[in-house]
């Protein structure tokens, strides 16, 4: 199969699916090939999307139905420097006079509580290396109410970049435009008022989207198609693509498929969640389909494939267009980490034990701390701090022997969530304590992120510049996950988000174990990237985390230069001395040589993913810093403008940009 690429500067259609790898369809007729060539020669859109990756949409009940439900969704955003283990909260059962709405995907009709149920879902993922492009199509039907307005809220991966929005009603298919959000909202309201069918897609916060539709007549069926890109997560030596289909499958029929182009021979491809049918057209590729009998399986779909070898793998994808050069670098740890020395830990757990945490959240805090304590060895040390106590469990970190752990468990069992005090001083003390040269320090922060003023905890981490790794565990009825994500990001750590379900807690327990084991076995730490022949800039994440066992590192950025070039990653190999205190320094460098041809590749998804990462950095950090820089409204508006410009330039939804699609025809014209 040939691989074709758009050259955007030639074809001048920058939205010719600018974020996909375009491939010649296998079904293309021979007569079609010259047509494509002709288009290229003419400077037209000589590209067509073929293998689009498709994945996940998790539909959450609208906030009105579950006011206390955190709407933060994504599972294991492995490409970020922050891991997130999360589940959307289970839909709260209707209470009192609240409308009886199903806890399943639906468009919630405004005013009268009726719904437009989901009839069918089609998902296709095209996976290229560690990047997935997802086509998701959902069909809703208005069986009753006349000309309704409806909306629904749904989750996508935190780094999902939604770049296409197409609506089909009967024979009418309309592609939406990206516009500044406020402008799109005015247009939508105007169209709704004038009786036009109107569609608006907005992003409420990273990974959480809201879709509104207006004037859908009784008996009409609406197909909503989204395309988005995101990076894959990584688990147990394999890349993992997850589609949270449990709600969709329970509500409707579902078709799901995926095309994998791993870029290296695929050693394993399997689904631990569903029966699948796998075809292997060649060693580097696999085509996967959900087995027909699984179309209504009420479980999230997980697809894993592995290519990892025995050593660290280092890969670089590049893209260049009129906007400049973009790259995505994947640093993958070896699958077998038995040779990586295991290091001792110093664990400091800081828990929010305030009244907000009383009941199930406090039980979650106790369970998480006990799980962490179980992961410690006799050679480790630990300490605990509860926000209602003036003093921590011990004056200083004490050995994690059996007696120490038993005393700690008794101490944490006595905490019931009956007071309130901020956590920032405990966090500051934990980060400021002199490092133990023989142990790697992990600070575990447990709570809902609302114990302190906005940005206060992140401010402490910025101020301290500690080498400690921070694990945030988000627990609570309403969680400010932004604060906890930012704390973990600055602390080069991870976030685990949990609620109260037994299944979720089992996942979080496992995650805590994986994280602590990863910190014990840093494959490479204190990473740096440099290059001869290229100028690398605007990297995300800006502060490189360690390469830990079981967790790849993805860095996206921009480059200038035509090559040939050399890109190097430097890091302290396992067992080497770091600021966190480990003996036996051994600096290791990984080198990748790039030819001019390799730097002139076309992977348009990289530009979109870079823009999405830049927007996320502005949303997480830029706004916080602007808000905490003295209440300077100009700074905030400057950050918002940057987000808006990135959204418009790269044609993606953000908090400042939205997709609008209006059917300008009056329905009587049909």
């Amino acid at each position: 199969m040939s691989v074709w690429s758009c050259e955007l500067d030639r074809i001048r259609i920058t939205h010719c699916r600018p974020t996909a790898v375009y491939r010649l369809p296998s079904t293309v007729s021979r007569a079609g090939i010259p047509t494509l060539l002709a288009m290229a020669m003419l400077g037209l859109a000589a590209c067509t999307p073929f293998e689009r990756p498709g994945n996940r949409l998790q539909v959450a009940p609208p906030p009105t139905a579950t006011p206390a439900a955190p709407l933060v969704p994504a599972l294991r955003t492995g490409a970020e420097e922050v891991w997130i283990v999360a589940r959307t909260a289970p839909a709260a059962p209707p209470t009192g006079a609240a409308p009886q709405v199903p806890a399943l995907p639906y468009l919630q009709v405004r005013d009268d509580g009726a719904v437009l149920p989901l009839q069918h879902t089609t998902v296709h993922a095209a996976v290229a290396g560690h990047v997935a492009s997802v086509d998701l199509r959902q069909r809703f039907h208005n069986a009753g109410a006349p000309a309704v307005e409806a909306e629904y809220v749904f989750a996508l991966p935190l780094d999902a970049a939604v770049d296409d929005f197409v609506i089909t009603i009967g024979t009418r298919t309309i592609r939406g435009y990206i516009r500044e959000r406020s402008e799109a909202e005015v247009i939508y309201a105007d169209a709704r008022k004038q009786g036009r069918r109107a569609f608006l897609l907005t992003q409420e916060r990273p990974g959480v989207f809201r879709q509104a539709v207006a004037n859908i007549a009784a008996g009409q069926t609406v197909d909503v198609s989204l395309t988005y890109f995101h990076t894959l997560s990584y688990r147990d030596g394999e890349l993992e693509w997850l589609f949270p289909m449990r709600d969709a499958a329970a509500a409707s029929s579902i078709e799901l498929s995926a095309d994998i182009d791993a870029g290296a021979p695929i050693a394993t491809v399997h689904s631990p969640s569903h029966q699948i049918v796998v075809e292997r057209p060649n060693p580097e590729r696999a085509r996967v389909q959900l087995a027909p009998q699984e179309g209504r399986s009420a479980a999230d779909f997980v697809l894993r494939f592995g290519t990892a070898g025995d050593d660290v793998r280092f890969g670089l994808l590049t893209h260049r267009d009129a906007r400049g050069g973009f790259f995505s670098l994947l640093l993958q740890p070896p699958a077998d980490i038995s040779r990586v020395p295991r290091q001792a830990l110093e664990l400091i757990a800081i828990a929010d034990c305030s009244a907000r945490m009383a009941g199930a959240p406090m039980a979650g805090v106790r369970a998480a701390i006990k799980q962490a304590l179980r992961q410690l060895d006799d050679g480790d040390r630990f300490n605990l701090h509860c926000s209602t106590e003036s003093w921590p469990f011990a004056d200083q970190a004490r050995p994690a022997d059996a007696a120490g752990r038993a005393a700690a468990i008794a101490w944490i069992e006595s905490q019931n969530g009956n007071g309130s005090s901020p956590l920032r001083e405990a966090l500051r003390a934990a980060l400021a304590a002199p490092p133990d040269p023989s142990r790697r320090r992990v600070v575990m922060l447990l709570g809902d992120g609302r114990s302190d003023d906005d940005g206060a905890l992140a401010g402490v981490v910025r101020e301290q510049r500690s080498a400690a790794r921070i694990l945030s565990v988000a627990i609570g009825a309403v969680v400010d996950v932004h604060e906890l994500v930012e704390v973990a990001r600055l602390g080069r750590g991870a976030v685990a988000q949990g609620f109260t379900g037994a299944q979720t807690w089992a996942e979080i327990d496992a995650f805590i174990g994986v994280f602590l084991e990863g910190v014990r076995r840093p494959v490479l730490s204190d990473l740096e990237i440099d290059s001869d022949g290229l100028e690398l800039a605007d990297l995300h994440p800006a502060q490189l985390p360690d390469l830990l066992a079981g967790r790849p590192l993805v860095v996206t950025g921009r480059f200038r230069g035509n090559g040939p070039a050399v890109v190097r990653i430097h890091g302290n190999a396992a067992g080497a001395a770091t600021a966190a205190g480990n003996a036996g320094a051994e600096r290791r460098s990984l080198t990748l040589k790039l030819s001019p041809a390799e730097l002139a590749q076309t992977h348009p998804a990289l530009a979109t993913l870079w823009a999405r990462a830049s927007i996320a950095a502005l949303e997480y950090r830029g706004l916080d810093q602007a808000e905490t820089s003295g209440g300077d409204g100009t700074s905030v508006s400057a950050v918002v403008e940057q987000i808006r410009n990135l959204g418009l330039d790269y044609h993606i939804v953000s908090t400042a940009t939205a997709f609008i699609a209006i059917d300008a025809r009056a329905q009587a014209e049909e």
Binding site: H15, P34, L36, A46, R175, Y177, D190, D649, I660, I662
Partner: protein
């Protein structure tokens, strides 16, 4: 190519307008006047892009539409012929410029349109008088050869 700008609405004469307003005010209750003044100044129209390729099969096109006045592009639909039923792709940078849009599509179908065919339909929100001008940027036959069909626009969804 023969762009067909939308015919601007004739401007009402001031004296006629004033007289009409006075009569209306006398004839209608106050709440009716309030409703009349709340009528949105904007309107939604469709702008069909019609390419006439004569006897040639139209395998690809790229068209620029430029507006004068206040026009916001709020979507693009496909055309009438099955080969161009899917919405075309567009250039977001052109839209950002504020007064133009570039759309393009190609088809590998063996059944391609000839003669005058609506290949796409812009969805537009207008405020005040707006005119449209179309320019063919490129077109191709299935045999790779470039040619120059004519382009016209049909405003309002009527062809």
């Amino acid at each position: 190519m023969t762009p067909e700008p939308r015919r601007p609405t004739p401007a009402p004469r001031p004296a006629t307008t004033l007289l009409f307003a006075l009569l209306l005010a006398a004839a209608l209750p106050l709440n009716a006047i309030a409703e009349a003044t709340a009528t949105p100044a904007s309107r939604f129209v469709t702008v069909g892009i019609v390419v006439d390729s004569g006897k040639d099969d139209l395998a690809a096109y790229q068209v620029e539409v430029v507006t004068t006045g206040t026009a916001q592009f709020v979507g693009v639909a496909g055309g009438e012929h099955p080969a161009y039923a899917a919405p075309p792709y567009f250039d977001p940078a052109a839209i950002r410029s504020g007064n133009r849009v570039i759309v393009a599509a190609f088809s590998r179908d063996t059944n391609l349109p000839t003669g005058a065919t609506k290949v796409a339909e812009l969805q537009v929100r207008e405020v005040g008088p707006v005119t449209y001008t179309a320019r063919l940027m490129a077109a191709a036959r299935p045999d790779l050869s470039r040619f120059t069909p004519t382009v016209r626009l049909v405003v309002g969804g009527q062809q």
